[in-house]
């Protein structure tokens, strides 16, 4: 074996070790969280409300809040992100205005979430007087989510072959018709993967919500689905501690006796949910792509 071959083999070995290390760290983290957390998770834990001073509390309300906030945030941010990314990918010319928008998106996406949270506190909670509420949280999450979602959708649109656009124009369709009816459907698998990945990020977010959606989870009346009643689960003006905020809260100031169990159980549920988001993003994106391109 000559010197070059030897060098190459050592390099490959080194790179494999590094890759293995990354996987190992991830496996250790997830394994630790699941092993300590999952034994505390039961149906009762997932559905009953939290208890502040006694043992046996659950995370039912927090779990509901997380999902509801996620859905609201997505309902607000998806149309905006879709519009912005269609503009950037299909219409925007390469000039100072466009590059300003892109720079703004990049800066927005690199803002620390706690800063976004404090901004949301000043604007939505104080200035708009929405208080610590679902709507303040959802609007703040929109700010947090918008840059990444816009970038994701823009990339999906840009990856659609130009042949598709030409095909639409060649049939005498307008540019707008071509984009809405040909380009966006063709980009759908990528857009859906992007939405699900962003959902995972939003679902696990805590810092942006501490000062906006609040740190309390008042008991909800699950028999009342009128969004205008303050104890209805759908009320957008009630404070809503999410699962991620709950973990932070009980670890910093929790006084219930089973604090460790509740914390590790919540962490396991949160990580499991995010794992499901990430894996399903790939799976669903691929399935839709297959459906669109296959004979079945």
């Amino acid at each position: 074996m000559n010197r070059t071959q030897k060098q190459s083999q050592i390099a490959i070995l080194l790179l494999r070790l590094i890759a293995a290390l990354v996987v190992l760290i991830l496996a250790f983290l997830i394994g630790y969280i699941f092993i300590t957390g999952l034994p505390n998770v039961s149906w009762k834990f997932l559905t009953s409300p939290a208890k502040a001073f006694t043992a046996g509390g659950g995370i039912g309300v927090q779990l509901f809040n997380s999902i509801y906030l996620l859905i609201l945030a997505m309902i607000i941010s998806l149309p905006i992100a879709l519009g912005a990314s269609i503009y950037l990918s299909e219409y925007a010319k390469d000039n100072w205005f466009t590059s300003m928008i892109r720079t703004a998106i990049e800066i927005l996406s690199s803002l620390p979430s706690v800063v976004v949270g404090l901004f949301g506190f000043l604007l939505f909670v104080v200035q708009f007087n929405y208080g610590f509420s679902i709507i303040s949280g959802a609007l703040t999450l929109t700010i947090f989510n918008l840059p990444l979602l816009t970038r994701n959708i823009e990339e999906s649109l840009a990856s659609v072959s130009d042949d598709q656009r030409q095909g639409g124009l060649g049939l005498g369709l307008s540019k707008y018709e071509t984009i809405v009816h040909i380009v966006v459907p063709a980009a759908l698998p990528g857009i859906i993967s992007g939405v699900i990945l962003c959902s995972g990020r939003v679902f696990g977010e805590a810092a942006a919500l501490i000062y906006t959606a609040g740190q309390s989870a008042p008991a909800l009346n699950f028999g009342d689905w009128n969004p205008f009643n303050i104890d209805s689960p759908l009320s957008p003006l009630r404070p809503a501690e999410t699962l991620a905020v709950h973990i932070w809260k009980i670890n910093s100031e929790g006084i219930m006796p089973d604090l460790t169990q509740v914390s590790s159980g919540s962490a396991a549920v949160l990580v499991l949910a995010i794992l499901i988001f990430n894996l399903s993003a790939r799976y669903i994106g691929r399935k839709i792509f297959e459906k669109m391109t296959s004979m079945n």
């Binding site: 030409q166 639409g168 005498g172 040909i182 063709a186 459906k291 669109m292």
Partner: protein
């Protein structure tokens, strides 16, 4: 017949409009990319129900010329001069460009079926134009797929994704899609370059059939294809139409030396 032999080194055949029905023609057409002139000197007439091939080396302006004919160059280039379609200059701002592209259909180099069913690909443009009668749409789908000679292969799978088809079948579905909006003229930009020899042969047969109802203009880099398929041939070089004549004459007795060199494979 008015055969005008250009004094310089170009020969452009001219029809007598009293004897021949001209579907399209261009006059003083100039295409600029930015400030640079990409194509000029191409006063060509296209006879109804014929196939005209545009040949020439890469960068000779043949595709640029073709794409100007249904104003697909609108956002990319500046097109000056006249494009007469049935006597009307369609290279004017007041002309409805969408209607132009409906009447002058286009098929592209790579098959580009939309992410829809075969049926949906064909009915899509009609539905956008307000045709929703299922019976009418069914008829159009069957008629155009038969015209494009792909009906027998896909008739049992009309609701499967068009993107699952093979290249040759996909390209014929794209032809059927272009025919669905009832054009007069069909522009094809190297439609067989991504296809295997068998599919290419089938495609050529299809075009020969379509000639009965449509005026066909096809860009091809394949000289054998031009010779087999077309009635007239334009030879482009360096952004100019060098010679336009009956295909037989172009390939057997070209009037210009450059054409002779090109068709006998001395350059390009």
């Amino acid at each position: 017949m008015l055969n005008t032999k250009n004094k310089s080194d170009r020969f452009i055949y001219h029809f007598n409009p009293e004897e021949t029905e001209i579907t399209m023609q261009t006059k003083n057409l100039e295409v600029y990319y930015g400030k640079s002139l990409a194509m000029h000197n191409a006063d060509i007439q296209f006879q109804k129900n014929t196939i005209t091939a545009l040949i020439g080396p890469s960068g000779s302006g043949k595709s640029t010329y073709l794409r100007s004919l249904n104003r697909m160059n609108d956002d990319i280039a500046t097109v000056k001069g006249q494009i007469l379609y049935q006597g009307v200059d369609i290279n004017q701002p007041k002309i409805d460009v969408y209607e132009v592209r409906r009447r002058i259909g286009m098929v592209f180099q790579r098959p580009n079926p939309f992410a829809k069913s075969i049926y949906g690909n064909i009915t899509f443009a009609l539905e956008r134009r307000g045709v929703h009668d299922k019976r009418v749409l069914d008829e159009v789908v069957e008629k155009t797929l038969k015209q494009a000679a792909v009906w027998d292969q896909v008739k049992d799978n009309l609701h499967k994704s068009a993107q699952s088809l093979s290249g040759g079948q996909a390209q014929r579905v794209c032809i059927a899609r272009a025919l669905a909006v009832e054009p007069d003229v069909l522009l094809l930009d190297e439609p067989a370059s991504a296809l295997d020899p068998v599919s290419t042969q089938q495609l050529e047969q299809t075009l020969r059939e379509l000639k009965k109802d449509y005026t066909i203009i096809i860009v091809t880099h394949n000289m054998q294809q031009a010779a087999r398929l077309s009635d007239y041939t334009v030879f482009f070089n360096l952004g100019e139409a060098i010679e336009y004549n009956k295909t037989r004459k172009i390939f057997t007795r070209p009037k210009i030396e450059l054409t002779d060199d090109y068709v006998s494979g001395n350059f390009g």
